[in-house]
Amino acid sequence: MMVRESTIMWIQYITGLGILVLGALHFASLTFLVQGGYLEALRYKIVISRYTDPLWAAALEAFLALLSYHVFNGFRIMLLEYNQGSGWSKAVNVTMFLAALVVFLYGTRTIITFYLGGVA
């Protein structure tokens, strides 16, 4: 089924707003939300403590999902404007969808791994 371009772009705008909110939270979690600031925030124990918190893990997963959609749909738009033709359009749509899926699954794997306690 063909998805309407307005639906795709509506999601693009919504994900853009979501990225602003969750991106700010992500940035905060790496700086002033942690005692000791940026240096302390990147310590393994502190990172693990964030990932093992279900709320943080869910926020990171949502951030990843929004980014995967927004970034690769953005690339798709640029590539469709860069060149035209039905073969090109199909190739761009499929490639960008698969790329977004790969990035999302790979990121999810990382989040799940750390949610379960990380690597020994």
């Binding site: 309407r4 371009e5 307005s6 795709i8 772009m9 509506w10 738009i77 469709l80 404007e81 359009s89």
Partner: protein
């Protein structure tokens, strides 16, 4: 006129007088017109050629080009018609900006070199004349006319519309299809399938017209991968328009309609017709009144 006189007149070179001030005042200065030239039979690519043109107070770019054509180089191809900013035929890029040649005063550009080149984003036919077909085909694609089922059933009635409803699209009716916005659009420069600012603005103009019932058909066309969503709101189209039309605004409004009011617009009933038949005389009656031969003008005294 005898045959010899006619032949003599045909052989006489055409002479173009710059309007208004020839013989009344001296040229203010000479300006170099750097004109893009291209003959598809001879040239591999366009090149610039310089011409010296005397400029008076009210000389326009079109006057300058016609001066070149009739006095310096008759091979120059120029497209023009009304000479008063109404027909849009003389659209071109002057000193890097899209302008109507007949509406642009040479001195107002405040430059001793005037660079004239054809419109961007359109195939070049010759010199500064472009092929407007891709632009007009996109215009046609959005169905720029009133669509409703009962259009033919009520030929003698007017459809009712309030001044407020008219105001929704009035500004967009000033479009003269000159192609300046299409040339200025950065998206059209890379995406040749993009409908372009003129067609999208006209789609909006007909969708919001309360007499129209074709919103669904037009939404399907503009809500496509190379439709309204490819506009990045650079605003170059509105800046280029010589008639004060604001296509960039119309395109953003069209996006808004698609996101928030699609169903409402698709289900909207077009404005009803007047109960009374149209007053005044019919077109047939007007045609009947036209004399077959126009009377000759009075002889000069």
């Amino acid at each position: 006129m005898s045959a010899s006189e006619q032949k003599q007149q045909e052989q006489k070179p055409l002479e173009f007088k710059i309007p208004n001030l020839e013989g009344v005042e001296k040229p203010m200065k000479n300006v170099t017109f750097r004109v893009s030239r291209f003959d598809p039979d001879k040239d591999a690519r366009p090149y610039y050629k310089d011409y010296e043109v005397p400029v008076y107070r009210f000389t326009t770019i079109l006057d300058g080009l016609l001066y070149i054509k009739y006095n310096l180089d008759p091979t120059l191809a120029v497209r023009y018609s009304c000479r008063m900013g109404v027909c849009g035929s003389c659209a071109m890029v002057v000193n890097g900006r899209e302008r109507l040649a007949c509406k642009t005063n040479v001195l107002s550009l405040n430059s001793s070199i005037i660079t004239v080149r054809p419109l961007n984003n359109l195939p070049l036919i010759r010199d500064i004349v472009t092929d407007l077909r891709p632009f007009l085909e996109k215009h046609r694609k959005v169905m720029p006319y009133t669509i409703r089922d009962d259009l033919e059933a009520h030929e003698d009635r007017e459809f009712l519309q309030s001044p407020a409803e008219l105001n929704d699209y009035m500004m967009l009716t000033d479009c003269i299809k000159c192609g300046l916005c299409y040339s200025a659009c950065p998206t059209t420069a890379t995406d040749e399938l993009f409908l372009g600012p003129q067609a999208l603005a006209q789609a909006y103009r007909y969708i919001v017209d309360s007499r129209d019932g074709g919103a669904k058909l037009r939404f399907d066309i503009v809500d496509s991968p190379h439709g309204v969503w490819r506009c990045h709101f650079a605003g170059a189209c509105s800046a280029a328009c010589p008639k004060g039309v604001d296509p960039a605004f119309a395109i953003q409004q069209l996006k808004k309609l698609l996101l928030y009011r699609r169903k409402a617009m698709e289900n909207r009933k077009p404005a009803p017709e007047s109960e009374k038949p149209r007053e005044g005389i019919s077109v047939e009656e007007v045609v009947k009144e036209i004399p077959k031969e126009w009377p000759s003008p009075p002889a000069p005294k």
